[in-house]
């Protein structure tokens, strides 16, 4: 199950702490590094410079509203690729341009592992 390649530093934008807790463990089980989390787009903007991020998982509805797509676009401008993790896959589909893909909640660990590998191609340090 663990990724045979170098670990990725994954950030998670999600406002339900229990889901963060669950996904954090899955990320570590997959051999990657949990780089941190934020519960709103505003908090992401505030904290962004303090994190080293290879890629991000982004929920659609956050503590400051339906700001997930905005956050993904904002991260894209800064060279960080996102994957939506959401129960609202139809909303994610409307914003497909700002993310590499979508994972429907609840998240099976195999699907998470597969999708995280998509991020690898977009990590700046890997070219």
């Amino acid at each position: 199950m663990r990724s045979p390649l170098a670990p990725l530093r994954i950030f998670y934008l999600e406002d339900n702490p229990l889901i963060v807790f669950h996904i954090e463990s899955m990320i570590e089980d997959l051999g990657h590094i949990f780089a941190g989390s934020a519960s709103s787009f505003a908090e992401l903007k505030m904290k962004f410079d303090t994190f080293q991020i290879d890629g991000a998982l982004v929920d659609i509805d956050l503590a400051d509203g339906r700001t997930g797509p905005l956050a993904a676009a904002w991260l894209q401008e800064r060279g960080v690729a996102s994957i939506f993790v959401t129960g609202q896959t139809e909303v994610a589909a409307e914003h497909a341009a700002v993310a590499l893909g979508t994972i429907a909640k609840p998240v099976p660990v195999e699907v998470l592992g597969e999708k995280l590998e998509l991020l690898r191609k977009h990590v700046k340090s890997f070219g």
């Binding site: 702490p17 963060v20 954090e24 463990s25 908090e43």
Partner: protein, 289 residues
């Protein structure tokens, strides 16, 4: 509302109004006051209008009409229209509530899924899994009731602690001694803290201070009086068996670290002090409202 004379009702006007009426939202029944000339065929006009103009509230006056009579007709039509707008507002509110309810139900199911996934991850037996899982669901349910009874948006920290820790009493005495000023927490912060207290209390009962009759927990909280106050919550155990740092962090420790870091923006201090576990969390209170 529309006021119209029967002479104005040519086929084109009739059909434009009919179209408008058909396109009305569900709650709407537009009042239309028709002023008929005394010589006009009243019955025929009434029959035709009720057929061509569905979902309208038609009121007929024979000309010449006394101004007082027309005024009272207009007023009652306006009142009816206002009541329809009230209905519209109720419908909109209900749609909004249903959307919010759906969002919350989904969120709770996602929480339960996460609790189950994480409980399973650290379980060593089916009985252990069942006990831990039902204990966590019960904690979630207890804090939900506290929030609901408090009006649904905020909840008092002491109330959350009282309810979450009420099973931990020995001979009617509180083994968890809670002390602090009244503090209103937001719904989500209240839920997260309740689940943290549940983990701390069950851990204390199994391995810590609450596993001995003389053991106690001092649970205290305080707010600084600065412009952006800091909330500090301390869970201090004493009187239990000697504490050793576990070789591997279990669900409780991991959850408390992750949840309090997310809630306060700062990780809590969890100290496996030989005389009793200490867990101290501090962060800006503004994040918990």
């Amino acid at each position: 509302m529309l006021v119209v004379t029967h002479e104005a009702l040519n086929p084109s006007v009739l059909s434009i109004i009919a179209e408008h009426l058909v396109d009305q939202p569900d709650w709407s029944e537009m009042p239309i006051i028709v002023l008929l000339d005394g010589a006009a065929p009243h019955a025929k006009i009434r029959a035709e209008l009720s057929k061509t103009w569905p979902r309208s509230r038609q009121i007929f006056f024979q000309r010449p009409v006394a101004s007082l009579e027309l005024l009272s007709g207009l007023q009652s039509a306006l009142l009816a229209r206002l009541r329809q707008r009230d209905v519209r507002d109720h419908i909109e509110r209900e749609i909004e509530l249903r959307r919010e309810l759906n969002h919350r139900v989904k969120n709770i199911l996602a929480s339960v899924t996460a609790i189950f996934g994480m409980t399973r991850r650290s379980a060593t037996s089916i009985d252990g899994l069942a006990d831990d899982f039902s204990g966590r669901l019960m904690a979630l349910s207890v804090v939900h009731s506290a929030i609901f009874e408090a009006g649904g948006e905020t909840v008092d920290l002491a109330d959350v602690i009282g309810r979450t820790c009420s099973p931990y009493r020995g001979n009617g005495e509180n083994l968890i001694i809670a002390e602090g000023p009244p503090i209103q927490l937001g719904r989500d912060a209240g839920t997260t803290l309740a689940l943290c207290f549940h983990e701390l209390a069950t851990n204390a009962l199994k391995y810590g201070a609450l596993s001995r009759p003389e053991g106690r927990v001092h649970l205290t909280w305080s707010l600084t009086s600065t412009s952006d106050p800091t909330l500090t919550i301390s869970w201090i155990e004493s009187g239990g068996p000697p504490v050793a740092k576990p070789s591997k962090a279990g669900y409780g420790t991991r959850y408390i670290r992750s949840a309090l870091q997310g809630l306060l923006g700062v990780p809590p201090e969890i100290i496996f002090h030989p005389e009793g576990l200490h867990c101290i969390a501090a962060g800006p209170f503004s994040r918990l409202r």
